[in-house]
Amino acid sequence: MVQYLHPPLDLSFAALSDATRRGIIDQLGRGDASITSLADKFQMTLTGMKKHVQVLERAGLVVTQKVGRVRTCKLGKRGLKAEAEWIETHRKLFEARFETLDEIINEMKQEGSGD
């Protein structure tokens, strides 16, 4: 599949290159969670989880908010609806391709090459 890499996106790619971080995005897609509960779920130390969340936060995939002593994580704008976006993105891409393919096919038909 065609993907275009641009410097601002490198952060996101780096953020998502790690299976645990993809798991965290997945988890937050099902509901907000505190750092503590995420650490429990992924069986890691609080410090380890904080690091992962920081990477995701820098990429804009996760936002966190501290209320009292609990830091809650939720999906940032970019992490939302990744799947729906993915489908939509592919639809746009193929739609654009097929628009042009229609034109080419029409040319071919006019050349009498459509048998």
Partner: protein, 167 residues
């Protein structure tokens, strides 16, 4: 989200895209031409390269396109996003049945998908199905996450383009 787009010639041919199961992407579209014509437009490099990279995606171009479309043949496409960086996509054709189907591998990544495109003649029209199967759920997730982050920004302008086609 399901705006109808007029194809060339005013045909109402919708592109449908769905994720099937954990590991598959399926795209379907009908064309107003016999399967042999649609197959040629897909299998001849000089035609293929005219439509595979949408003209409307800003700054992306295909700098080379080698396709030896036969069972056992190879292909290699190189894209440029401006600047000197190019990105290559390449693989092998596992099976080619002229006017019916083409199956190829995607070897540029660690866990590449296998892609099948079929051309089904329906009384002078053609149902095209593009079917990508990833080796694992994780491989598809990776693709999903990567392109969901990378592509929308690239393709935003397509919205305008597509909604303004057909006058």
């Amino acid at each position: 989200m399901t705006e109808q787009v007029d194809g060339a010639g005013g045909a109402q041919n919708r592109t449908s895209v769905e994720r099937r199961g954990d590991r598959e992407l399926v795209v379907t579209r009908t064309f107003d031409a016999p399967a042999s014509t649609v197959y040629r437009a897909w299998s001849q490099p000089e035609l293929f390269q005219r439509w595979w990279v949408p003209k409307s995606v800003p700054g992306i171009s295909l700098v080379s396109c080698d396709m030896d479309v036969r069972t056992g043949g190879k292909y290699r496409l190189e894209f440029s996003a401006g600047g000197s960086d190019t990105m290559a996509f390449y693989g092998r054709y596992l099976e080619v049945v002229p006017n019916e189907r083409i199956i190829w591998t995607n070897d540029e990544g660690e866990e590449g998908a296998v892609t099948t495109v079929t051309f089904e003649d329906q009384g002078g029209r053609t149902l095209l199905t593009f079917h990508e199967v990833y080796p694992s759920k994780e491989a598809l997730e990776e693709e999903l996450q990567g392109s969901a982050v990378a592509l929308p920004e690239q393709l935003e302008q397509l919205d305008e383009l597509l909604s303004s086609t057909g006058e």
